[in-house]
Every structure is written in C-alpha cells, then in structure tokens.
C-alpha cells in the first residue's frame, strides 16, 4: 500500500518557554527540533503498515522552512522511503493554507501514479494546535476521515480504527482511501538505526515552493500566560517530611486518619 504522512517541524521544549523579542515565535536558540509528537506515531505506523503489507511506498511530507528537511531525514531514517518538502520562508501558515498545499501534493502524486491509500496526520501539531488540517484535506479530497485514532488495523480495502470515546473505546470502519489523524499512544516510535540514518542521507528530497493561499486565522503575536506568583510550600526534606505529607492528605480529605 502507499501511505503519505504529513509532519511538522516543532521545537522540542523543556521546562520553560521563552519568546523571541518580537513575540512572533518561540526562542529556539537552545532547543533542538523534532517531528511533532503525534506525527512521530504516524510515521512509525506508516512504516509498520507497509512493512507488514510486504510492499508499497511511504512518503513523508512537510511544509516548512529549509531546516525542516532535518525532520524529513529523521522520518527517512526510520524507514520512510520518499520525501517531499514544501519549502516556505519559515512563517507558520494558517491551517487553511496548509491544507490547500497538502491537497496539491496528493493530487500531484496521484497524477504521477502515486495513489496514497492512507494519508496520516497527527491529531494536532504540538505548537499551533489547530486540530483541522487533516479534516480539511479529507474534505477537499472527499475522502473518509477519522481523528483521534489510537489504534488501527488494515483489513484489505478498509481500516478498523480505534479511538477513545465518551464511554470507553470506539471502533470505526473506515474504507480506503482515507485520511486519519492519529494520536500518540498509537505505537511506540522507533529510534533511527545507524544504517537507517545513513540510508536517509542518500534519499533525494523533492522540494518545491508552493503558492500560499489566503485563509485564516491570522496570527498577530504570541505571549506567555502570566504565572501565578504563589510560592511553593515546602513540607520538608527527605523521608522526614512524610508526617507532614500525610497531615496534608488528611487535611485535603484524601485519606481518613
């Protein structure tokens, strides 16, 4: 089968986030970059599915600045075989423009004989959290879609997809070709092997500069929420603090003495 996975380059944040002076982006001076977490699982799933199906291609696609090629290499290093880079000047595109550009790729691939049975996305990008690109792409292509997928099995021409529901897990029938938005927990993504990394270096990434369509919403600027100034109340140090902790538990009504 052929699978297309769409990924986004995001900073790997740590314990605190600071913004650039102009408030337009995260200050990533000391941060490394990664594929957004849900999408890492999408990449892993695609590799597994095609391995299991005994044939086909996996294509990784990103829309982003030149440096996002690193993320394509990371995906290639874990087994994806084809890579497409929609190169932008680095500014975040809104979800409508992003979806339009991705739809363009799917149609262009189809014209070249690459029909993707599955287009996989992460449920939402860790940074922008728009929750809509997968569905917009599906709607434009008039393909069946499902979001929040945490488990899936390919059964011939359809997929059995699981996700959390309001009362337990829900299992859906999704006929192929389809668009799925998956969540972390779908699988445990593998790390790239050394041969994988070295193979990835040799793959030619197909790069183009797409036209940016008008859409929305438009980001004006970012800001960090005000932190409450409360001082943490230190109950004690080491094992000696245990009585104070249990006193707290009792006072919160979490245990009955």
């Amino acid at each position: 089968m052929n699978i297309l996975v769409c990924v986004k380059r995001v900073p790997a944040t740590g314990g605190r986030v600071t913004l650039t002076g102009d408030g337009l982006a995260i200050d990533a001076r000391f941060l490394s970059f990664t594929i957004s977490p849900h999408e890492e699982c999408a990449v892993e799933e695609a590799v597994r599915l095609v391995e299991a199906s005994g044939g086909g291609t996996t294509t990784v696609l990103t829309l982003g600045a030149e440096a996002a090629a690193d993320q394509l290499r990371d995906a290639l290093a874990v087994g994806m075989t084809r890579a497409i880079h929609l190169v932008t000047d680095g500014e975040d595109w809104d979800p409508m423009a992003t979806a339009a550009a991705i739809v363009g790729v799917v149609r262009a691939d189809a014209a070249e004989g690459f029909d993707h049975d599955l287009v996989l996305f992460g449920n939402e990008a860790a940074d922008s959290g728009d929750y809509q690109v997968p569905i917009r792409v599906a709607a434009a292509l008039d393909r069946p879609w499902l979001t929040g997928v945490k488990g899936l099995d390919v059964e011939g021409t359809s997929v059995r997809a699981r996700r959390d529901g309001t009362r337990g897990q829900e299992v859906y029938h999704v006929p192929l070709p389809a668009v799925l938005a998956v969540r972390e927990g779908l699988n445990r993504p593998r790390y790239p092997s050394i041969p994988g990394r070295l193979r990835a270096k040799k793959v030619a990434i197909m790069a183009t500069r797409p036209e940016r369509q008008v859409g929305g919403p438009t980001m004006i600027r970012l800001r960090v929420p005000d932190e409450e100034d409360a001082q943490v109340h230190v109950l004690g140090t080491g094992a000696e603090a245990a009585p104070a902790v249990v006193d707290l538990l009792e006072s919160l009504g979490l245990v009955n003495p």
């Binding site: 605190r16 970012l222 603090a241």
Partner: protein, 346 residues
C-alpha cells in the same frame, strides 16, 4: 442574509441525558459575551437523541432559539456514530443561516464536528480560544480578535479571524469567569434543521464500543494521581508509586520520558499528548516539569512535587513540595500512612 439566525452567534451544544454538557455551557458563556458585544442574537444547535430535551433546558440559560436535528431514538438518533454527519449538518446550517459565528467547546467531538463543518464550507476556524471579541479598529462584521492556546496552553496566541462567518472552539477553562448574567429564562423556540437532502455520508461508521476495563480508576477521572518521571529510574521502581496510589484510592500517571523509555504504557501518560488530568491532588515524583507535562496536570486542584532539585521547573507550578529522593520519601509516606491506619477518603 437569509433565514433566521443571520448574523447570529450560534453555539453547538453537546449534551447527555437531556442536560447540556458543562463544557458547552462554558462555551455558551463566551458566545454570549461575543453576541452582546456584537449586538447579535445568541442561538444554539444540538444534535442527536435528547437534543430537544437539552434545548428546552437551554432556555434557563437565556437562549431563545435552538436548532435541533436527529432527535430520534435508535440509529437515527446517534449522528455521531457516523462522524461525517454532524459536521455536515452544521455545514448546512452555516450555509443556510450565515451566522456571524459558530462556537463549540473544544472537546474532541466538538472540535472534530466544527472542523468538518469549516472544511465543507471553506470557512476559517480558530481552535481552543480563551476569548473572542471585536477586533480593535476593525469592522466587527468582518473581523474578530481571538486569544487561543498554543502548546496546549503554555503559550497564548493573539490572532485575527477574518470573514463574515467564522468558527471557533472554546478551550477548557475559558469562560469560567466573567460570565455575563443570563437574561430571564423562557422556553426557547426549537427549529428543526432542514434536511440537506441526498445520501448521508456514512462511509465511516462506528462498528463497536469497547467499555473501559472494569474496576480501576480512569486517569482522567481520578481524584488522586501519583505521577512518576525520569527520577523513578526504571520500570521496576513504579511498584512504590502503585502502592501509594492504591493507599490513596488513586491511580498512577507518568511523564512522557517514562513512556518514551518504554517503562510504562502510554495510557498512563499525563501531558499535552497524553491525558489531561484534574485530580484533587497530583503527587509528581521525580518529574522535572516539562511544559507539555504541566499542560496535562494543570487541571489538578493541588500539586505536591517530590524532587531532589529544589529549582526544577515543576516547583514553580507545585502547591506543595518535598525536597528529596522519591525512593526515600515515598516509602516513608507509605509507612506513615500505614502507621496511622489511613484509608482513602470518601
């Protein structure tokens, strides 16, 4: 402008057993604020079995008009069993009514439904907003200003939403304060959504429900969560945390480092890409406090951090702290609980 609700602010209300869901009511508060600011009517839309009952209840929240569909019982009353249908219904509403805004709570279902409606109508959608208002210096009929969550809420984005008709989802926690008092109750007018005609899109359909495992406390619902991070050191030492959680009638949660290392299953992960928890107390052991983890536990009423590092980022978010090694502190807490014969609170 065509039909009723033109230029209105419409809220998509989720419901259960005939009552509007609390998240939707919070979204309603935000929507009301916008409607008042715009001088626009405030309406709601509810789908599926029980929608009419929920609609009536909405009268108490000051709604005069509620659009409903699929209030039937049986298959016809469960539009969400085919995920494309609710969004399609709302898309039809958008096209026929051209409201100023369609707003929903940013639940999984609400988000998905509005995203599809936006996709079908090629309208812009701002997800996870904390506030929406007229944009400064702009015509409120064409531009709105929103604040929305990035990084699960660790960063806020000021954005502009352009267009005569726009969609928004409202983030959990927004609208809790500053709620505009509801006008006097009255029975709302209930309008059945016109049928779009044609075959409904049932390509994707629910085929099975798997109930949660019997017994045990779900992470999302637990009153007490005992969390473990890198400081636990390996899969074996989690037994300590499980023991403590059991004594407190709670459950174990973990950080992304732990699931990434394969020590514990992803179902236990607390964080932006895992589960958001809202216990009365979250005991974070050996967790440094990455912002994505904080996103997952900020709903906790109180946080107790146990960490050797007094300056770990989690300390800035914690209510209480014990500075020490969890491998010494947790057994001591367990011993003290046993010594006092403590049992989980009611």
């Amino acid at each position: 402008m065509s039909g009723l609700g033109a230029g209105a602010v419409i809220v998509f209300v989720e419901h259960a057993t005939g009552e509007p869901a609390p998240a939707s009511l919070a979204a309603l508060a935000v929507a009301r604020g916008l409607a008042d600011a715009l001088g626009a009517p405030l309406e709601a839309v509810a789908l599926g079995e029980g929608a009419v009952a929920a609609a009536s209840a909405l009268g108490a929240h000051g709604l005069g008009v509620v659009h409903v569909a699929h209030d039937d019982k049986g298959d016809a009353g469960r539009p969400f069993d085919t995920p494309a249908l609710p969004g399609r219904l709302l898309a039809h509403l958008l096209v026929t009514n051209a409201p100023r805004a369609l707003i929903a709570a940013a639940t999984a279902r609400g988000t998905e439904t509005l995203a599809y409606a936006a996709a079908l109508t090629n309208l812009p959608l701002a997800a996870a907003c904390t506030q929406v208002s007229a944009a400064d210096g702009e015509d409120p009929a064409r531009a709105l200003s929103v604040t929305r969550l990035r990084w699960g809420g660790s960063v806020l984005e000021e954005a502009r939403l352009d267009g005569a008709t726009v969609l928004l989802t409202v983030a959990d926690g927004a609208g809790a304060d500053g709620a505009v008092p509801a006008p006097p109750a009255g029975a709302p007018r209930i309008i059945t959504l016109a049928d779009e005609g044609g075959q409904p899109d049932t390509r994707v359909r629910l085929v099975e429900r798997v109930a949660s495992a019997a017994g045990g406390v779900s992470l999302a619902e637990a009153r007490v969560v005992v969390g473990g991070g890198r400081g636990v050191g390996g899969p074996d030492a989690f037994g300590l945390l499980e023991e403590l959680a059991a004594l407190l009638g709670g459950t174990v949660g973990v950080s992304r480092v732990v699931t990434g290392a394969g020590w514990r299953p992803h179902s236990e992960q607390v964080g932006q890409t895992g589960t958001r928890i809202s216990p009365d107390l979250y005991i974070a052991c050996g967790i440094s406090g990455a912002i994505q983890h904080i996103v997952g536990c900020r709903g906790a009423r109180a946080i107790l951090a146990i960490n050797t590092d007094r300056d770990a980022p989690i300390m800035a978010r914690a209510t209480y702290a014990v500075v020490g090694d969890l491998h010494a502190v947790v057994p001591a807490i367990i011993a003290e609980l046993r010594r006092r014969g403590a049992t989980p609170g009611a």
